[in-house]
C-alpha cells in the first residue's frame, strides 16, 4: 500500500480530473482514475471518490457526459471537458503554478 503522504491533496482531485479529460479526450470513470494513478505515479486513489468529483464538475458545467461503449463492450458513461471547463482549467493551472512557485521560493529562502 502506498504511504499516507501520497494521498490526494485536498482540493486537487477536481483539477486532476479536468486536466486528464483535457489531455485525453472523452473517458469513462475507470479511465480517468486509471490515468490519474499512472500519471501521478503511485497516488493512492480510492477510485470511488472520482464519482462525486465528476458529478461536482458536471453540475458546474465544466464537463459533460454521455453514454458510450467501453473497450470491453460494456455500457459506460463517457465524460468530456467543455469550453467553460477549459477556461477554468487554464485559470486554475495559472493559479496553481503561481502558488507552487511562491511556496517554493518561500521554502527555499527559509532554508
Amino acid at each position: 500500500m502506498a504511504p499516507a503522504d501520497s494521498e490526494v491533496p485536498y482540493g486537487t482531485l477536481d483539477l486532476m480530473v479536468l486536466k486528464t479529460l483535457a489531455a485525453m479526450g472523452p473517458l469513462h470513470g475507470y479511465g480517468v482514475a486509471r490515468r490519474i494513478e499512472q500519471v501521478t505515479g503511485g497516488l493512492a486513489l480510492n477510485q470511488g471518490t472520482i464519482y462525486p468529483a465528476l458529478l461536482r464538475l458536471e453540475q458546474k458545467g465544466w464537463i459533460k457526459s454521455e453514454w458510450g461503449t467501453s473497450d470491453n463492450n460494456r455500457r459506460a458513461r463517457f465524460y468530456s471537458i467543455t469550453a467553460a471547463g477549459r477556461k477554468q482549467l487554464a485559470a486554475e493551472t495559472a493559479l496553481w503554478t503561481r502558488t507552487v512557485s511562491m511556496v517554493k521560493r518561500l521554502l527555499e529562502s527559509e532554508s
Binding site: 475507470y30 477510485q47 462525486p52
Partner: protein, 879 residues
Amino acid sequence: MTRLRVLLSRLLESPLRRWRDSRLDEEIQTHIELLTDEFLSRGMSPADAAREARRAFGGVDRTRLAVRDQRGLPLVDTIVQDLRFAIRLLHRDRTFAATAVLVLALGIGVNNMLFAILNAHTLRGLPIHDAARVAHISTLDDRSREHGLSYAEFRALREASAGFSALVAVTEQPVVLSGDGQAADRLGGLFVSGDAFAAVGGRVVTGRALNPSDERPGAPAVAIIATETWMTRYGGRESALGQAIAVNGIPATIVGVFDERSGFPATAGIWVPLPHLANLAAQTGADRTLRVFGRLADGVSFEEGAAEVDVFGARLARAHAETNRGVRVRAVPINERYFGRWNDTVWLAFMAAGTLVVLISAANVANLMLGRTSRRAREIAIRSSLGAGRLRVVRQLLIEGCVLAAIGGAAGLGLAAAGLRLFRSAIPENALPYWVNYAPDARVIAALVTASLLTVLVFALLPAVYASRTSISGVLKDGGRSGTAGGGARRWTTAFLAAEFALAIVLMAQVAVSLRQLDPPRAAELGLTQGQLVTASLTLAGDRYRSPQQRLELVRILRERVGAIAGVSTTSVASAAPMLGRTEVRIEIAGRPAADAKEQPTAGSVAIGPSYFETLGVPLLRGRELADADGSAAVVVNEAFVEKFLADGHAIAQRLAVAPAAGSPQQPVWATIVGVAPTIPQRPGAQEPIVYTTYESAPAATLALLVRMRAASDRVGATLKDAVYAIDPDLPLYRVQSMNELIWQARWNGRISRQMIYALSLIAMALAVIGLYAVTMHAVAQRTQEIGVRMALGARPRQIVALVGRRASGQLGFGLAAGAICTRLWEGFIPSGDATIRATDPTTMALVAATLIVVSAAACIAPVRRAVRLDPVQAIRHE
C-alpha cells in the same frame, strides 16, 4: 452564474433521483468490472481479482452516499417527503380535512370578496394606458369646492402649457339623437376636444375615432356612437357608418363606433366634437363645466406638470380678477380623482371585517388541529425519539397546514367569485360606472395568498409549536393520553367560542329584526306595484317648447294620443315619477306663520296632471284629485305632511302657501288643500311630507309620463315611442320602464346591505357551530378511555350523552350570554333609526337562541354518536 447552475441542477436532481441512482449503479458496476478485467489480465484468480477490484474502488456504499449528498437539495427532498406524508394523512382523516377546508374557504372567501370590492373601488385604477401620467385638472373656488374649467380657461391652458403632450376637455350633456328615420332618443352625450381619443385611448370598434381636424371651423359635423347605441339602434350593421343623423337637431354623420367601456371615465351613448356644444362660444370665464385631462409630455414628472398648472392658475387669478378671484387650478392623478382612497374609514372598516373573518376561521381550524394534534401526540413523540428535530416536527405540521390552506384558498377564491357575481347582479346595470370592475386581478390574487398564509400562521404554527413542546417520555409512558389541552387551553377555547357565538348572534339578531319587519307592504306601494304601470321621461327642450302654452299643448295632445292606445286604461304626467325625486319648497300654513323666515318649514313638491293617483293605483285617503281647472288654487298633500304640519288632522280646506326654496324672489302662492294622499316615496325609503301641485300651474320642461295598462305587453315601450314620434319626431321618450323595475333599481342599495348581512350572519353561524363541533369532537377523543371505563362499569347511553353534552351546552350557554351582551352593546352604539322592533327584545333573542341551539345540537350529533358507540373493551385500551 456557476452557483445558480449548481442550484438548478441540484433542484432537478430531486425528481430525477431514482433514474440518477440507477445510472450511478450502472457506472459503478462497469467500473468494477473493468478493474476486475485488469486484475484478471495480471494473472489473478477470478476471486482475487474481484476482491482486489472492490478494494481499489474503495467502498461502493460510501461512493453512493457521497454522490447522493452532493445531489439534490436535502431541504427540498425532505419537504417533498413531508408534503407526501401530509397529503396521505389528510386523506386518511377526511372528515377533519373537509371540515377544515370548508372553514378556511368560508373565511378566506369572505375576506377575498371584501378585498375585491375594496380593490375595485379604490386601488384598481382606470383602464387607461399609463394612467399614472394622466392628470385630472380642475379649479377650486374660494370655498375649496371643485369645478371644471371654462372653455376660455381651457384654451388658455392649452396655449400656455409645455409640460403636457395633450390636453383634453370633455363635458357631458344629454343629447337628442334623431334625423335617421327612427323615433328620437335621448342619450348621454359626451362633447370632447379633438385629441381626446389620442390622449386617453380606448377601443374603436369600427370606423374611426374623433381627431383634431374634426374640431376646425368649417369641418363636416361628425359623431361617433357607443357599441350599445350601435347595437340597439342600428342592429350592429356596418351601414351605420356614414348614416346621417341629427344631434340636438343639428345634422351630422356617424364616422365610428367606440367601446363605451374603455377610455374616458364617463359613460356615453354618443361622442361629438366639443365645438358642437351649443352656446360654447357664448360661455363666460365663470361657466366652469369642462372636465380637463392632460397627458404629461415625455420626461416631465407629475410634480413638474402639477406645478405648471398651479402657476397657470395663479396667473389667471391675476389677469381675470373679476371671474378668478381666489380660484386655484389643480392637477391630480386621474386615478386619485375617480377612485376612493383605500384608507378611508369605510374601507378600513371593510378590511378590519375581512381580517376578523379570516382570523376567526383560522382560530376555528386551530381548534380542530389542536384536537388532532393531541391525538397525534404519540406519533410525534415516536418521531422525536427516532431523532426528528423539533424543527422538523414543526415543519411537518406547518406543511400540513399549508396543504389545507392551499385547498381552502382555492375553494375560497371560488366562493368569492360566486359571492361577487351575486353582489353584482343585485346592482342595476348603470348604478356603477363601468370602471368599477370586480373581476380578480393580480392584487386580488396576492391578497388571497396573503390571507391563506395568515391562516397557516394562526392555525398551524401555534399548535405546532405547542405540540413540539410535549415531552417525549411523558407521552410514551402515558400511553398517548398526554399532550392534551390543560385547564388554561380549555378556558381559552371557551372564551374563543363565546366570542364566535357573540358575533354570530349580533348579526343574526339584525337578520331576525329585518325578517320580522317585513310587514305587508303599505297600501300605497301595493298600488304602484300591482298591475302594469309604465313610466317614461320626456324633456321639452328647444324653441318649440319655450312657452308654458306650448308645453301644455304638447301634454294635452300626448295624453289624448297615449290614452287612445289599445290596452291603456289611464294616463297622467308628473314632474317626477315616484322614486325619482322631488323639488324642495318652503311652505306656510294659514294661521301658523313661522316665527322667523329662516325657520320656515320645507317640504317636497311634485307637479302632477289630472287622474295622477288613479293612474298610480293609489286611492286618495280623503278629498279629491286635482283637475286642470284648479290651476294654482288647489293642492293635495300626503299623509306624512298631515302628520308633520297639521297635527290636529284637519287637512281638507286648510290654506297653504308654497314658495320655491331659498333664494328665489318669487312670492308664495296660496292654495287650498283639496285632498290627502297616502305617503308615496319620491326617494328610496323616504317617508317625507309632499305637496302635490298641478302641472298646469307651472309646466316644467322635464316630465314623467305615467301609463297604466290593462294587460302586460312587452310592446308598450315601442308603442309609446311611436306615439311620441308621430307627434314630434325630434322629441325623445327615454327611460321607459315598468314601475316594478324602477322600484327594484331604486332600492338596490338597501337590498345589497340586507343580503350582505344575511350572508355574513349565515357564515358567522356556520363558523361558530363548527367551532363547537370541533371542541366537542376533541373532548370525546380525549376522554375515550374514561368513557370506556364508565361504560364497562354500567353507564347507560343516556348518561354518556349527558357527559358529552354537559360541556357542549355549557359552552353554548356562555356563547349565548356573550351574544346577548354584545347585541345590547351593539344597539347602544348603532342607532337603529325608526325601527319598531329592537334587536334585544325577547322575541328576537328567543328566535336567535332557538336557531342556534337547534343547529348546535345537530352539530353535536356526530361526536355524541361516536361516544355512545364506543366499544368499552377497545376504548379502555385506547391509546
